[in-house]
C-alpha cells in the first residue's frame, strides 16, 4: 500500500479507537439483512438484531482488522491462521468477504461522514482488498 493510503487508514483507525467492534458488528448485521444468503455461515448463532453472539463475532472481526492495520507490511503472514480457518475449515465463499467489506464501508460512511472523503474511501477499499486477498488468495 502506498504511504498516503497507509497513513489515511492508520489515522482513521486511531479515531475509531475501541469502537471498531461496534462498527464491525453493525456491518455483520447489515450483511445479514441485505444479503440473507450470507447467514448460511452463522446458522449456529442467534442472528436476531442486538444478538450478543453476533457482537462477539463482530469483535473478533474487529480484532483481526486492527491486527491487519498494524501489520500492513505482511498481511498474508499475519493473517495466515485466519486464511487456513476460513478457507479450509469454514469454506467461506470469498464473495462473502466482499459483501461484508461493502457493509463495513456503508457503516463507516454513516458514522463518520465528515471523514469519509473519496480519497479516504479509496484508501479503505485498497486496505480491505489486501485483507481479502490475504484471507482468500484464490479469490483474485
Amino acid at each position: 500500500m502506498a504511504p498516503a493510503d497507509r497513513a489515511a487508514v492508520l489515522a482513521l483507525w486511531r479515531k475509531l479507537g475501541t469502537n471498531v467492534g461496534i462498527y464491525t458488528t453493525e456491518a455483520l448485521e447489515r450483511t445479514f439483512v441485505a444479503f440473507p444468503s450470507s447467514k448460511t455461515y452463522f446458522l449456529h448463532l442467534n442472528l436476531s438484531p442486538g444478538s450478543a453472539q453476533v457482537a462477539a463475532h463482530g469483535q473478533k472481526v474487529a480484532d483481526a482488522l486492527s491486527l491487519a492495520v498494524n501489520h500492513l507490511d505482511d498481511l498474508p503472514g499475519t493473517l495466515s491462521y485466519l486464511r487456513e480457518l476460513h478457507t479450509h475449515k469454514l469454506r467461506v465463499d470469498p464473495v462473502f468477504f466482499k459483501l461484508l467489506c461493502h457493509c463495513l464501508l456503508v457503516t463507516l460512511a454513516r458514522h463518520y461522514p465528515g471523514d469519509f472523503s473519496p480519497n479516504m474511501h479509496a484508501s479503505l477499499v485498497k486496505f480491505l482488498n489486501h485483507v481479502i486477498s490475504a484471507l482468500a488468495p484464490s479469490s483474485g
Binding site: 447489515r30 441485505a34 456503508v106 458514522h111 472523503s117 474511501h121
Partner: protein, 212 residues
C-alpha cells in the same frame, strides 16, 4: 409456482441421523431454504417416516427472473428518494466511482481534468453526468416492476456503443449506497440499505440484460 418432491426414505441412518435433503441450503426465496421446508413438513411419526416414498409439496415460490419488490421495500425506497438532491448525490456517486475505481475513468476521456480528487469532485461534466445517471434511477423507482423493460435501450447503448463491463454497474450502485449513507445516516437503517441494495442490484442486472 409449486414443486412436488418425492424423497425416498432411505433405510434409517445409524443413530437416526437427518435425511440429507433436510440439511439442504438450496434457497427457495424469501430467505427460506429447502432444508427448512423439509424439516417443517417431515412426517411426525417414525412409522410414517418408514414408508417408501415421502411426498412433499413445496408451495412457496422459487426465485424467478423478475425481481419482486415488497410494498415495504417500495415505500422505503420512495421515502428516501423524496429527500435526495439528485445533482449532489448523483455527482458525488459518479465522482467516487472515478476516484475509488480509477479504470472507470477510461469511459470519460472527454470530461477533461480527472487528475485528482478535487478535480474530479469539482468537474462540471462529472456532476452533470452523475445527475443524468441518478435521474435514471428515479425512473427505475417509478417502474420497479419492469426494470428490464425500462432499461432495455440503455442496456443496448452500454453494451454495443460504450462497451462497459456490467460489473461496473454494480460498483456504481454501491457508490450510490455509500453516498446515501453519508447524507442520511439516521434513515439508512439495515432495512433501508437492503431495499436500496436490491434496487441497485436489479438496475445493474437490467442494464446487463441485453449484453451478448
Amino acid at each position: 409456482m409449486s414443486i412436488l418432491l418425492t424423497h425416498p426414505c432411505p433405510s434409517p441412518t445409524p443413530g437416526g441421523g437427518p435425511l440429507p435433503l433436510t440439511n439442504s441450503l438450496i434457497l427457495l426465496g424469501e430467505g427460506r431454504t429447502l432444508g427448512q421446508e423439509m424439516r417443517n413438513k417431515r412426517p411426525h411419526s417414525e412409522e410414517a417416516a418408514q414408508t417408501c416414498f415421502w411426498p412433499i409439496r413445496i408451495t412457496s415460490k422459487l426465485p424467478d427472473t423478475m425481481v419482486h419488490f415488497t410494498t415495504e421495500e417500495k415505500a422505503a425506497v420512495a421515502s428516501l428518494w423524496a429527500k435526495v438532491n439528485v445533482e449532489v448525490v448523483g455527482g458525488e456517486s459518479l465522482a467516487r466511482l472515478l476516484i475509488v475505481y480509477p479504470w472507470t475513468q477510461r469511459f470519460f476521456d472527454s470530461f477533461g481534468n480527472l487528475y485528482s480528487e478535487s478535480a474530479i469532485m469539482g468537474n462540471p461534466k462529472v456532476k452533470a453526468h452523475g445527475r443524468k445517471v441518478l435521474n435514471s434511477f428515479g425512473n427505475a423507482i417509478e417502474h420497479m416492476d419492469d426494470l428490464k423493460g425500462t432499461f432495455a435501450d440503455l442496456s443496448e447503448l452500454h453494451c454495443d456503443k460504450l462497451h462497459v463491463d456490467p460489473e461496473n454497474f454494480r460498483l456504481l450502485g454501491n457508490m450510490i449506497l455509500i453516498v446515501l449513507a453519508t447524507h442520511f445516516s439516521k434513515e439508512f437503517t439495515p432495512q433501508m440499505q437492503a431495499s436500496w441494495q436490491k434496487l441497485t442490484n436489479a438496475v445493474a442486472n437490467a442494464l446487463a440484460h441485453k449484453y451478448h
